[in-house]
Amino acid sequence: MATGVERLVGAVAVAGLGGAFLFGPADPGTRRPVAPAPVATLSAAPTAQDVPANPERNAYFGDVHVHSSWSLDAYTLGGNRDEPDVAYRFGRGDTIRRPDGSILGPLAVPLDFMAVTDHDAWLGEVHSCVDTSDQAYDTPTCRQVRAMEGFGQLYGRFGRQGLRPPDICGESGYGPGNRCLERAGHLWHEIQKNADAFYEPGTFTTFAAYEWTGQPPGIGHLHRNVIFRGEAVPEWGGSAVEMQNRPERLWEWLEKACVSPCQVMSIPHNTNWSEGVSMAPNNSDGSPFTEEILKRRAWAEPLVEVFQIKGGSECYTGLGTTDEECGFEKYYEICKPGQGSNCAYASDYVRNALKSGLRIEEEFGVNPFKYGLIASPDGHKSTPGDVDEDAFVTESPKFAHDGSLAGPYGERQDGGNITNPGGLVGVWADRNTRESIFDAMKRKETFATSGPRIHVRFFGGWAYPNDLHSRSDVVGQADAGGVPMGGDLPSRPPTAGAPRFVVWATKDARSANLQKVQIVKGWSSGGETHERVYDVACADGLTPDPNTHTCTDNGARVDVTTCNITAGKGAAQLSTTWTDPEFSPADRAFYYVRVLENPTCRWTTHRALARKSPIPEPSTIKERAWSSPIWYTPPSQ
């Protein structure tokens, strides 16, 4: 059946009569059947143990941040009526049929893994409000939800205050009898069932997950996605509302509720919207860190999402850096003196947090910001992985007649700039199963891309040969003599010099060639943090200048009237073995890779050309990928 509303209503009265036939399953995609099973074979689907493993690990691409109609904002602001199962179908490469009859998909390249992350706050409320048999159906708040208005007001009045709307949920507070919590508990089982139903070991991995939607009154958004490794998950109790929107209480709950064999991680995102709080050097209520809270946080949060439809969170030119590539897809302007909200703070950006984490570790012995990097779109239309600039339609930002753009939900967000189709998470895992993908994320062998499937590998060690990157057994040797991205350099041997890194990037066959590969280094020295960006491999036969550590411009350009790019520029692959030229054994440091493509048309340019309207600036982008860092810790005194 077409929509959440009708589906629920239909289920109440007609037991799915209309659902099965009127709308039926989505059309098949272009995939081959997973196992074209012989007739009358009732053998079980392949289990995770049957999937062959590659010890050198494969790159798998995923989207672990997508909303369905079960999310209040997707339902109200986005008008989304497609439930989580539709999102899973779209992600695995099926076409989907919209309630309006339109057909979307298939994705050019299906996702290898994904998780639907609907908002915890209002999960039960939205369902009550679209179920005509629910006693809350005719309440004023439900009418407001169905009228698709006042999302901000509803969320601000209840969720942000740690309250639930009493007309829907009842007056019993957080305790037993709260109808919204009961309903959410039931839906949490449905979330797990959906994830389990679409899991095909070896082909398509899915996780039970939700978005913890915490945003205390007066401060920015502290949202994070909570992702469980397997079928062992706690009963529902994880909503930000009951936790008064405090992430410290989330980590506490996860530690208590998710005990072996349950495994979980929480991934903060949109730190660029947190108004200085998400990665501040103190707790979310401003109180000082304690070792206990830091340890729990470091355990719960191995990763951070650096890129999505609401902008980039890697770094911001002018906020702790002069790096000119940090102006990429920015949401807010830098805070002006006296301005506290809807603006960019230095601590909202991941590179700054990686740096401040080094200082916090010096003080407390724990680094709460020892983040591996991922990206995901955060789409609100049940269309995960829809990240191509030239086919970005499903998020449907409205294109105003003057060529300017409205926000991702069809309305201009306060103080914000328009965003982009979002990116993907890459992981290096030995096979495409829940266990392998989750464990790769937990050990931070992950990378982020702004959309294209750029592959990037990164290893660090003390005794790599200078030409390791060009040897055919590079991965085996790099693993044996060091650590992959996300790891800590082994203890430095007494005879060793500076650390050496193998960096390797490959273009997406469907996107532009690569322009250059950079290593971003951050370190702590003398009570202060520092950073430097090194170009380490340049395309087109160029080499980095040994003094400035930069590649000269390779001359790749885009014709924005056609989106044609300069032919013959850039590289399909770039790799090098790089030694830190300014290493100081006494300073804590991290290193991560950033890969830049030649410039291509931004999605706004594709749209403007299709609509023959003026092309908004910026008209081009340099798509990119970011590896997780490798850390160096000096020996303790």
Partner: protein, 287 residues
């Protein structure tokens, strides 16, 4: 299906929609006074229907007490239903509008819907065979040579020499991996469609790959990344599956098509009874 139809026909809301409309219309006609909303006549027909519904559901007729309870329930719901209508609760509620519209569609299709027979499935499948085609697939392994050097790393051998070595069969399987340059994507792929290969390796590679012989090393073949020596391991032509392989999908789609046809026909019959006017100005006006 028949069970579902019965479920729908048993459903109180359906009864009340039909009964309510009937009662309102009848009472308006019989008794066009101001107080018609305050009069509920539980007719013999109605009691008979309640009796039958109970019997169908429980397998035995209701006793008098049960029947009286059914009548009281009916009256109670009727009162509330009329008050809801009188208060305009059905107005401007898109869910109720859509629900009512769907309800009548469900009823329309439910009346004659039956499970398709094997012959019908076969006929539908034959008529739409192309829809169920399984695309061609190729599984393969490859050795990669980057454009920068074009030689097997550290060996000094040319791509042609390496190909000759592979063809002679003198390279142990474990050594094949080491013949070329490092490659970031996978060196072996299970069955892939041409579209999948194109999206991973580029158009040129995908087109060549599907022309290569099975079981032999061939190449070099260009991709978006460089050159490859390729051995196709198995190749499956595109094919039409047998009905039994896709039976569930065929049945679902046939039923979907039939249901839609029923609804369309029903709607068209109803539509003929209406004179529709549309303010065309607003449709053509460009804001």
């Amino acid at each position: 299906m028949p069970r579902l139809v019965r479920a729908a026909l048993r459903e109180p809301l359906v009864h009340f929609l039909v009964a309510g409309a009937f009662i309102l219309a009848a009472s308006a006609w019989l008794n066009p006074s101001e107080d018609r909303h305050n009069r509920i006549h539980v007719t013999a027909d109605r009691i008979q229907q309640l009796h039958e519904t109970w019997s169908t559901q429980w397998g035995e007729p209701p006793d008098e007490a049960q029947l009286r309870t059914l009548v009281e329930d009916f009256i109670r719901e009727e009162v509330l239903y009329r008050e809801a209508l009188a208060s305009g609760l059905d107005q401007n509620d898109s869910i109720i509008r859509r629900r009512l519209a769907q309800k009548i569609e469900f009823l329309a299709q439910g009346v004659t819907m039956t499970e398709p027979t094997d012959e019908e499935l076969r006929a539908f499948f034959d008529q739409h065979r192309a829809r169920y085609e399984i695309p061609a697939g190729v599984s393969f392994e490859h050795v990669f040579f980057g454009d920068a050097n074009g030689k097997g790393s550290g060996r000094g051998a040319s791509v042609g020499e390496i190909l000759a070595g592979l063809r002679s069969g003198g390279v142990p399987a474990a050594k094949v991996r080491g013949l070329g340059d490092p490659f970031m994507l996978q060196l072996e792929y299970p069955l892939q469609t041409q579209t999948e290969v194109r999206n991973l390796f580029g158009v040129e590679f995908a087109e060549r790959l599907f022309t290569l012989p099975v079981g032999e090393w061939a190449g070099p073949v260009r991709s978006a990344y460089g050159q490859h020596l390729v051995r196709v391991r198995e190749s499956e032509d595109r094919r039409l599956p047998d009905l039994h392989e896709v039976r569930d999908q065929v049945a679902t789609e046939l039923k979907r098509q039939r249901a839609q046809a029923l609804v369309d026909t029903y709607y068209e019959r109803l539509r003929e009874r209406y004179v529709v006017e549309i303010d065309e100005d607003l449709l053509t006006e460009r804001p």
